[in-house]
Amino acid sequence: MEHIRTTKVEQVKLLDRFSTSNKSLTGTLYLTATHLLFIDSHQKETWILHHHIALVEKLALTTSGCPLVIQCKNFRIVHFIVPRERDCHDIYNSLLQLSKQAKYEDLYAFSYNPKQNDSERLQGWQLIDLAEEYKRMGVPNSNWQLSDANREYKAAICRCSQPLSGFSARCLEDEHLLQAISKANPVNRYMYVMDTRPKLNAMANRAAGKGYENEDNYSNIRFQFVGIENIHVMRSSLQKLLEVNGTKGLSVSDFYSGLESSGWLRHIKAVMDAAIFLAKAIMVENASVLVHCSDGWDRTSQVCSLGSLLLDSYYRTIKGFMVLIEKDWISFGHKFSERCGHLDGDPKEVSPVFTQFLECVWHLTEQFPQDFEFNEAFLLQIHEHIHSCQFGNFLGNCQKEREELKLKEKTYSLWPFLLDDQKKYLNPLYSSKSPKFAVLEPNTVSFSFKFWRNMYHQFDRTLHPRQSVFNIIMNMNEQNKQLEKDIKDLESKIKQRKNKQTDEILTKELLHSVHPESPTLKTSLCFKEQTLLPVNHALRTIEGSNPADNRYSEYAEEFSKSEPGVVSLEYGVARMTC
């Protein structure tokens, strides 16, 4: 690989940005074709995917060495101190090159090989099928052709981009389409048109020949602005947020005033409010709603997908959530590659629109702990992969581009991998008994919005609870299930035995059948001890002074540990030599 000059640096220090003691870990830094790997003296591995790197900085030389700071898109920040400036410079240059690829073909997904054959890969891609989804929603039916959602309410969520109306332009066909949408709803005569932009922005767009629908030109529409800011505002808001919470030893008022001035939670609330408006229009008034923003792939995606999540419990399952992302984000052309900065491109197109969506979902899971089949780890993992470029799902900016890249032939789909690991992502408190169309009505009073520490500090171990309720309950649930299975196994064995006893009258046989009983008993007892172990084990590792155990680092570890099988060091070296 032409970008790698140094593959291994020893005696590198890793600093923890929130640790109270200024201790550091010393270890060896390896650079592979796809990852940066740090192995400390306890043999703990930290893997950083090149595609996750958002920013590399080389700071001024200090007495202990040359500091190298790496900021990642998954909010990991690592601070290395490399003893020799030359090594630091080499690594710095390599990372600069490796983290910004110019072509899609150089992304990880095109070389990632999970050892599956072609048919398995194809199956993976067919796992989430949108045509199937529209069938589930009950479209097309007599009122609807394949276009978007419809439910038993007969009201529908529709989406589009802004009309090119300017100051006076009209389009009769457009007016007819809208009329058709509102007529397709047999219950309600009027429909809503939601413009998710602040009114001022929409009016400014009119000067450029775009704008919004004129209520006079369309019959039976009710027009509504909901005021979600644009991608540029969101990008700088997140930047401010990260600046604030990245500071160590902040005073309470600095922290909160920083949180306020970043405006981040205000934006989250705006998105949530819009989704609630949408859900209410459909649920309470039975009115169809047409949602648009400027282009119809950012704010519109946020609002439509969140609205669907509020309305339909199917989307709150693991599979349903995948379908929702495929439908409202991927297939409707959210520009993942530009928004996530997959390639070296225009930094002004990068924006955390999808992250905001995930955060809104997290807020919902916090308010409704029993209504979601998945847990926080699932959201974090999806967030990990929109930036990882390890799977093909989020590459490209629209369906057309994706087909041109032949992603389905050349890359793998993320979803089957998540489904295989489903156990990790299950919410133990989920109760599927809630009626199918139970609509969530979240509370959007200001204090129900909290800072999502587990996202923005997922790699800062010292900030997390030292024991996790979720893990405990998940373990217990797991044990309960195992024990239940145990009961069933034993019961069926008893039945078999009893049948045997009645069938065979020979005393000899009877004696034989009694003896094997004890081993079964033994195994069941051993089994119990085994299943109880993880809990005890977890306990033994609680060491307040060195809080190495929390689920976020565990996830990170699990994630990174699955890596070596796929891309080993040799792999990186091998590519280098050729």
């Binding site: 929130f18 309470v252 306020e260 939670l265 702990p369 800072f451 069941s524 809080p547």
Partner: protein
């Protein structure tokens, strides 16, 4: 004095609104000596509704036409609204509530009349005296003794009759130490940390005054503490005031330990807020929580909410420091501020919770509250006279104990498996500290409690809480004993507003409560299923 003199109207027809969640109640309203009753008509199925009048923090009345409205803001932060028929009746009832809820006399208060079924007077009062803790210390070390020098409360009115002191110091020396410390609060043992052989002590400030007086016995006492600890142990005096404030205290006769006079001891200053500023933060925070209409920016920029969390952060980190000194550095730590009855107790009790696994059980935590707050002389009667709603000019009110409970809650969030009790116990303690049918939190010191005969004439809260029917509310189903110290994170990103308390009556609780029920179910499921396989497996042998 008869209560009847204060009751102006016996009864009236009224409608009671209990917040957005609960349905309104209609019926006959009735004021008694200690309670406000609402009895629904004969056709209604619901029970009598009852409110302890002492629980009322502030009362607001409004009349219009021929009816009136009374808004009652309670000490547990609940807001109730009563719509009453008749202007006269409204005014009379308001006046009666006002008079009865602010009675100052202890011995006419409700605990002296409360006689619940199933409890016997005198039960549980002797669960946690200092003698009991001394037995444990005596098993661990021989360097300490139980002294009854304060048997008649003459040395120190705010200490219990018995205190634990270094064996090498006799009662006469203690008497002289007491004269050198404010309020007579000479250094006593708060906690013995067996693994490191060091101790946590508490006292009040030394009365050095502007002349920098010294006291040989006091110096000897602290020397004896170091001598009785592990060999080579150092000492830290953790002053909960700033260095500046400690210096200024000399003007009024107080001061702090001079370095030269106490060899082996090093002084640290960790200023903690107390008194009025603490009460003010509490009041402002509750105000901010009650304002549902405010925008996100206003909520975040509420300096009040920030201030409260800042107090939490400071208290936890100071306790962390004290625990670190004892547990990790193997040093003896003496904690004091000025009087030694507020922030001092906050620090010593939290440090014990961090270090001592037995204080994290239900029984151990009750003992900790009894020993380190009630018997250690935290003036509950003064500090908890009013809560966050009172318009009266506060004199001695301060939510120090609430701050302690909040810190414990934060610990519980960070170590959800390590505390045997759940949020329920903390909420109960908050409620009862401010107004209670039990006698546990009455009075400001052991001396007053003896004078009022609290122990023989009222019921103990502990016996009330330890009844089997209360357990499910108080217990943490996820508890697994954890023998290690629990070192909390004190970064702001980790600390949270205690919504269960501050928003308890404001936000709709259902989803999280239902989820909690489910947790209980999973946990109890596990226990019952755990024994079943063996039962069925043994069947065929029968």
């Amino acid at each position: 004095m008869e209560f009847s003199e204060l009751i102006r109207t016996g009864r009236a027809q009224a409608k009671l609104l209990r917040g957005p969640e609960a349905p309104p109640l209609r019926g006959t309203l009735c004021v008694t000596g200690h309670h406000l009753l609402l009895s629904p008509g004969p056709q209604a199925t619901s029970d009598l509704w009852l409110l302890l009048l002492r629980r009322v923090d502030s009362i607001q009345k409004r009349v219009s036409g021929d009816s009136g409205t009374i808004t009652l803001r309670c000490k547990d932060l609940r807001v109730l609204q009563l719509d009453i028929e008749g202007v006269e009746a409204t005014l009379d009832i308001a006046r009666s509530i006002e008079a009865l809820s602010s009675l100052e006399s202890v011995i006419t208060s409700f605990p002296f009349f409360y006689r619940p079924k199933g409890l016997r007077l005198g039960d549980a009062w002797h669960f946690h005296p200092p003698e009991r803790y001394y037995k444990r210390v005596a098993r661990e070390t021989n360097a300490w003794r139980l002294s009854e020098v304060n048997g008649d409360f003459s040395l120190c009115p705010s200490y219990p009759r018995a205190v634990i002191v270094p064996r090498a110091v006799d009662d006469d020396a203690l008497a002289r130490c007491a004269r050198f410390r404010q309020g007579g609060r000479f250094p006593v043992l708060s906690y013995h940390h067996a693994p490191s052989g060091t101790v946590l002590l508490r006292s009040s400030q030394p009365l050095t005054g502007p002349q920098k007086r010294r006291c040989a016995e006091d110096e000897e006492l602290l020397r004896a503490v170091l001598a009785g600890a592990r060999p080579g142990a150092r000492g830290f005096v953790l002053d909960t005031r700033s260095a500046q404030a400690a210096k200024q205290a000399r003007v009024t006769g107080g001061g702090t330990e001079a370095k030269a006079a106490y060899p082996g001891w090093k002084r640290l200053h960790r200023p903690l807020e107390r008194g009025w500023p603490l009460q003010e933060s509490f009041v402002r925070l509750v105000e901010a929580c009650g304002d549902l209409e405010q925008s996100m920016d206003r909520w975040l920029s509420q300096p009040e909410a920030c201030h409260w969390l800042a107090h939490v952060k400071e208290a936890l980190s100071t306790a962390y420091l004290a625990a670190q000194g004892v547990g990790r550095e193997g040093a003896c730590v003496l904690v004091h501020g000025a009087e030694g009855t507020d922030s001092t107790l906050l620090v010593t009790s939290l440090a014990q919770l961090i270090l001592d696994p037995s204080s994290r059980t239900i029984a151990g935590f009750q003992e900790l509250v009894e020993r380190e707050w009630i018997q250690a002389g935290h003036p509950f009667q003064l500090r908890c006279a009013h809560s966050a709603f009172s318009h009266a000019r506060p004199k001695h009110e301060a939510p120090t104990f609430l701050l302690f409970l909040d810190c414990v809650w934060q610990l519980g969030r960070q170590f959800p498996q390590s505390l045997e009790f759940g949020e329920g116990l903390l909420l109960a303690l908050f409620e009862h500290a401010y107004a209670s049918p039990f006698g546990t939190f009455l009075c400001s010191s052991e001396k007053e409690r003896c004078l009022c005969e609290v122990r023989t004439r009222t019921h103990s809260l502990w016996s009330g809480l330890n009844q089997p029917k209360e357990q499910r509310k108080l217990r943490n189903p996820l508890y697994v004993p954890n023998p290690l110290a629990i070192w909390p994170s004190v970064e702001l990103q980790t600390l949270r507003l205690w919504q269960g308390l501050f928003l308890r009556w404001i936000r709709p609780p259902e989803p999280s409560e239902v989820a909690w029920e489910k947790v209980w179910q999973i946990v109890t499921d596990k226990k019952t299923e755990g024994c079943e396989p063996t039962v069925s497996a043994s069947e065929p042998q029968l």
